[in-house]
């Protein structure tokens, strides 16, 4: 395959990485932005989403004979909801009791990371679990070529994608637009942004801040879980799969600007596309090295991130 089609394929793969990463990291960004805590267990919420998706699709198929599409649709609802509820329970049992103290929250969520990981290992075992995609039609893509009779479309071998991969990009983008609409144009979004700005004044104006924190923590975890549900037909569910999403989410949240959802999405697109291109043309390891170096450069030259604001 020539360079051009190869590059388009790399961009497509990168777009899928970017889409899932943007969803997952947006969850981490709103939790940091509003609660001002670093959730080290965020990757485990991603992992829980994937494992619950596998459990739901497998159970529905085995017990009720449900089709992959029905199983996937149910998983896309149940996994984020369950993960969000687990996060809210964690908030009530742990984070609110340590009053969202930033240092103690880091330690507490490290503990939570291992608890969730080991409980999943004990419950579902160490094997990677596949989830069948609800639809997966291959689409061959055309490529314009200049021949002796002028421009014509050719169909290079292996140059194509699948309907499911395109669906992942569209679904993630739709969820992110919905999140933006929720934050900017709803009453709960206004409450969340007011709480992010000034916890005390929000309280003075009747906002039950602890309830907001609990819901935001749940929403952040649900976004990570939804990202995992989308990607699990491509990647498989495994109890150790939370590490990479956590690292990449931290990378894009720092590059985008701590707490800035729009900055996080922008950074996810940059890192995702870079990852796709570098992985296809060089190696996946080099892609990770580049992302980590990018974080270091941002911390040195623009500590507030691409779209973050400097602390006053």
């Amino acid at each position: 395959m020539e360079f051009g089609p190869h590059l388009v394929l790399a961009l497509l793969e990168g777009s899928i990485t970017a889409a899932v990463l943007a969803l997952t990291a947006a969850g981490l960004a709103i939790v940091f932005g509003i609660l001002r805590v670093v959730n080290v267990a965020h990757g485990e919420f991603f992992m829980l989403g994937a494992v619950i998706a596998w459990f739901v699709t497998t159970t529905l198929a085995d017990v009720f004979g449900a089709s992959p599409a029905v199983g996937f649709a149910c998983a896309a609802i149940i996994a984020p909801l369950t993960t969000g509820l687990i996060a809210m329970l964690t908030d009530k049992l742990v984070l609110s009791r340590i009053n969202y103290d930033p240092e103690r929250t880091i330690v507490a969520t490290i503990g939570l990371l291992y608890v969730l990981q080991q409980l999943t290992l004990m419950s579902f075992g160490p094997d990677a679990r596949p989830v069948e995609a609800p639809f997966n039609t291959r689409i061959a893509l055309p490529w314009p070529e200049l021949g002796p009779n002028g421009w014509a479309l050719s169909w290079p071998w292996g140059f194509g994608t699948t309907t499911y991969k395109l669906f992942v990009i569209v679904a993630a983008a739709s969820v992110l637009v919905s999140l933006w609409l929720l934050l900017k144009h709803t009453r709960i979004g206004l409450i969340m942004r007011a709480t992010e700005q000034d916890r005390d004044m929000a309280t003075a104006f009747g906002v039950r801040v602890n309830r907001v924190y609990s819901r935001v923590f749940g929403l952040g975890a649900a976004l990570a879980a939804l990202g995992a549900v989308l990607v699990v037909p491509i990647q498989q569910a495994h109890y150790l799969m939370g590490g990479d999403p956590l690292l990449l989410s931290f990378i894009v949240v720092i590059i985008g600007g701590l707490g800035s959802v729009s900055g996080t999405v922008l950074a996810a697109v940059i890192i995702g596309l870079t990852d796709g291109i570098v992985s296809v043309f060089f190696s996946a390891t080099l892609a990770k090295i580049i992302a980590t170096v990018a974080v270091a450069l941002v911390l040195v030259f623009r500590p507030q991130g691409l779209l973050g604001h400097r602390a006053p």
Binding site: R187, L190, Q197, D200, M201, A204, F205, V207
Partner: protein, 235 residues
């Protein structure tokens, strides 16, 4: 409705700032809290709002003990705070800041959001031109107007004002003074922390002097004069 502060103790962690502080603020009156920097004036307002837990004592609004309520319930009882330094939601627009105030308005209110919004924009017409603007980009005077307007969206029975004229040009300070007087005449109990002698003399129906978190003296309107006040204000 009368706000009564009964012998409250409050502070920050192990540091106790207020010691057995008590006073009352009646509807239709402006009660000034005076004292030097660090005397505990802002702490008093925070304690009334429930933003600081009380170590002892109680705060009553009418017959209700509001010190037992969560801080987020204080606004719904009709107590509004205009804090020192304005503390607007800077990244939100002027309109959204008013929306936050409207969300907290009293459950017993019979007026619609639009009515209340129109009322506060009539008091501060300059804000009408800035509705889409970020609060952090307003001038100091406009920010103070917005902080006051946001509090008025609650339709307060008690309005706590913490140094509202600090750093303002005289014309804006005069506008806020007139608004405060009008609110008191409309039946609101105003509790005003203020350092400017002119403002205190123009507005106060009574004053309490705080020294090291303790009530030093209560002064009726006819006992207030510039000489007395200058001894108790400033650094």
């Amino acid at each position: 409705m009368t706000l009564v502060v009964h012998a409250i103790d409050a502070g920050y962690g192990a540091v106790r700032v207020l010691h057995q502080l008590g006073f009352s603020a009646r509807a239709g009156e402006v009660t000034c809290i005076l004292g030097r920097n660090g005397a505990g004036k802002t702490t008093t307002l925070r304690a009334i709002m429930g933003l600081l837990p009380l170590d002892a004592g109680a705060v009553h609004l009418g017959d209700e003990d509001i010190s037992a309520l969560p801080a987020s319930e204080t606004a719904s009882r009709g107590i509004a705070l205009v804090p020192q330094g304005r503390r607007l939601f800077g990244a939100l627009s002027v309109s959204e800041n008013l929306d936050v105030g409207l969300m907290a308005r009293r459950a017993s209110s019979t007026r619609t959001d639009n009515d209340i919004r129109e009322h506060v924009l009539t008091l501060f017409p300059r804000l009408r031109e800035r509705m889409k603007q970020r609060a952090s980009t307003l001038s100091g005077g406009e920010q103070q107007m917005l902080a006051t307007a946001r509090a008025l969206c609650i339709e307060p029975k008690v309005l706590l004002l913490d140094e509202p004229s600090e750093g303002l040009q005289p014309s804006i300070a005069a506008l806020l003074r007139d608004t405060t007087r009008q609110l008191a005449e409309d039946g609101v109990a105003v509790v005003l922390v203020e350092q400017h002698i002119d403002t205190v003399l123009a507005l106060a129906d009574k004053a309490i002097l705080i020294e090291n978190g303790r009530l030093e003296k209560s002064l009726a309107k006819d006992q207030l004069d510039a000489t007395v006040l200058s001894r108790h204000l400033g650094v």
